[in-house]
């Protein structure tokens, strides 16, 4: 075990990093209630007026709707393609398997500007007009990887002999899927799907190159901040987005605990004490 001094130093460092991570988030929550539309500190007074303004703004509403549609579609595609790829990579040995698993990681390993520009060239090349479809295609590229990674990690921890046992007991493919594969996989799929949805909902770097003239919520906020317009509305939206973030984080946390990712670590630690 580490020396006492080392432990204290590590603890102090960790506290500072947590403060660094959280203080800015706490601050924007305060700014959302800023009475003035000048964003300086300290704020002159409190109001909930801007939440009302943000809620009523039709621009904001249509941007939110477009983002939700894109995220739902991209996540659905990602769940189907990502888990199929994960099964193939985890359960089969074939020529080029390494290359395929490397290829699948590219959309998150390559810089956003490369993915964005590549898709833009492709759409320009084939005369495809930007639409919801092009946004969804762009988001799917990296959402697939997220689901793929989650499902692959889960499959590697579960034994393939379960499937053989299931077949030996007379189950057909559907039964095996329903009673053996699904219980193992469901939490990984939900966790991966949540992360994919959140990434898609938040994406701005690639989206700019695939969206054309339409605004997803991040593109709208980006425009507002860049031009210095509607900053109080941006604050209010920021507040709402941070509060909404708690839901997927709590869910992901619960899912990880249920599947023993945390418990495994905790028991390993307990064994050392």
């Amino acid at each position: 075990m580490e020396r006492r001094g080392t432990r204290w130093a590590l603890g102090g460092w960790t506290t500072l990093v947590v403060l660094f991570l959280w203080a800015p988030l706490a601050l924007i929550m305060v700014y959302a209630f800023n009475k003035s539309n000048v964003q300086s500190w300290p704020i002159p007074g409190f109001t909930t007026h801007w939440f009302h303004v943000a809620w009523q703004a039709s621009e904001v509403r249509s941007a939110v709707w477009l983002s939700v549609q894109a995220a739902l579609l991209a996540t659905s595609i990602a769940i189907v393609l990502g888990s199929a790829a994960a099964f193939a990579i985890a359960r089969f040995r074939f020529f080029g398997r390494e290359a395929v698993s490397f290829l699948l990681l590219l959309p998150i390993a390559l810089p956003g500007i490369v993915t964005g520009m590549a898709l833009n060239s492709f759409f320009t090349f084939s005369h495809i007009v930007p639409s919801l479809t092009t946004i969804v295609i762009g988001h799917s590229t990296f959402c697939v990887v997220i689901v793929y990674n989650n499902v692959l990690a889960r499959l590697r921890r579960s034994s393939p002999s379960l499937l053989e046992a299931s077949a030996d007991l007379g189950a057909d493919g559907w039964h095996t899927f329903r009673f053996v594969i699904w219980p193992v996989l469901s939490t990984a799929l939900v966790a991966g799907g949540l992360l994919a949805f959140a990434l898609s909902f938040d994406e701005v770097v690639v989206t700019f190159f695939t969206a054309g003239a339409q605004n997803t919520l991040p593109l709208l906020i980006f425009g507002y901040i860049r031009l210095g317009q509607q900053l109080p509305v941006v604050n209010a939206i920021a507040f709402a987005m941070i509060v909404l973030t708690v839901i997927p984080v709590a869910l992901a946390q619960r899912l990880m605990r249920d599947t023993g990712v945390l418990r495994r670590g905790a028991s390993a630690l307990a064994a050392t004490k």
Partner: protein, 311 residues
């Protein structure tokens, strides 16, 4: 006798359950021809991926060699090296490329330094409850909006922002970080920090405690154990994290645009304005090949060092 191993055998003829029989026959088929199942699983993602992602990368390379007619702004399909010649000849573009790579390296280093002790504490010192808390402490910023987190720092660093207010309260002079490369570096380090913490934590958590005990038994002190056992085993995690922090910074234009100054242009900003303002897709494509090549080199090295297992 091999036929009787087929699960569909003997059940196919049972009356009244045609659906189950069909399913069993199908399962039997896939059992006997495993390759068919593999192909069926692999084909859709691979086709979609090849059709969209790889074709896009090819399109990027091809259009980088085209040109735009300055009068009609139409893309002319004439092969030439003009875009690349402009990139190499112009010192402005060289500076931008070097700045992008330099700040991406600085951000990666900063995040590694910030993340390592944090992840170490989380994996090896904190109680189970403390670990859960720290997980949430990392996940919440990771999941909250990227734009919002960049924007907050603009408010903090602004002339009449929180930081100067605090400094003045302490009797210190104002800082002038807003809209400089330092601000860009600071904000990138803030935004991508969770991407470094999680893989480093994962690598540290997987080190069996018996390794550390063995090292101690063999006479190594705390520092020697750290340097020769813990650090080498944690390195793939650090490199996996660095792929994210480096690549995400390399391909960004939002933070330099929102929080940087006149001399904070990134490769991404040139690409962004080439597409969004001057409509010069070929030149943008040519410049986008620079981060692509840098990242290809980086990934090759990372793969050698075993970072892919830690992603």
């Amino acid at each position: 006798m091999a036929a009787s191993l087929d699960p569909a055998e003997g059940l196919t003829a049972r009356p009244g359950r045609p659906l189950r029989a069909a399913r069993l026959r199908l399962s039997g088929f896939f059992w006997r021809h495993r390759w068919a199942k593999g192909l069926l699983l692999l084909a859709p993602p691979l086709l979609a991926f090849g059709l969209v992602y790889l074709s896009s990368l090819v399109a990027l390379f091809i259009s980088a060699f085209w040109t735009v007619n300055p009068f009609t702004t139409d893309i002319e399909h004439i092969w030439n090296l003009g875009n690349f010649r402009t990139l190499i000849d112009s010192s402005a573009y060289r500076t931008i490329a070097l700045r992008t790579i330099g700040i991406a390296s600085a951000v990666t280093l900063t995040d590694a330094v910030l993340a390592f002790p944090f992840a170490y504490f989380m994996a090896r010192v904190a109680s189970a409850r403390g670990r859960t808390f720290l997980f949430v402490a990392v996940l919440l910023p990771l999941w909250s909006s990227y734009l919002v987190r960049v924007y907050i720092w603009r408010l903090i660093l602004d002339q009449d922002g929180v930081l100067n207010w605090m400094l003045n309260k302490l009797g210190l002079p104002d800082q002038h970080l807003a809209y400089t490369n330092y601000a860009v570096w600071l904000i990138f380090s803030y935004v991508w920090l969770p991407f470094m913490i999680l893989p480093v934590y994962g690598a540290l958590e997987r080190i069996p405690h018996s390794f550390i005990e063995a090292s101690r038994d063999l006479g190594a002190g705390g520092f020697a154990t750290f340097r020769r056992v813990v650090l080498p085993l944690a390195l793939p995690g650090v490199i996996a994290g660095s792929i994210f922090t480096f690549s995400l910074t390399l391909g960004d234009y939002v933070t330099p645009l929102l929080a940087g100054g006149a001399s904070s242009q990134f490769i991404g900003n040139v690409v962004y304005s080439s597409v969004g303002i001057s409509n010069d897709v070929p030149f943008a494509a040519a410049f986008a090949t620079v981060p692509l090549l840098v990242m290809a080199l980086y990934l090759t090295i990372a793969r050698r060092l075993g970072a892919f297992e830690a992603m």
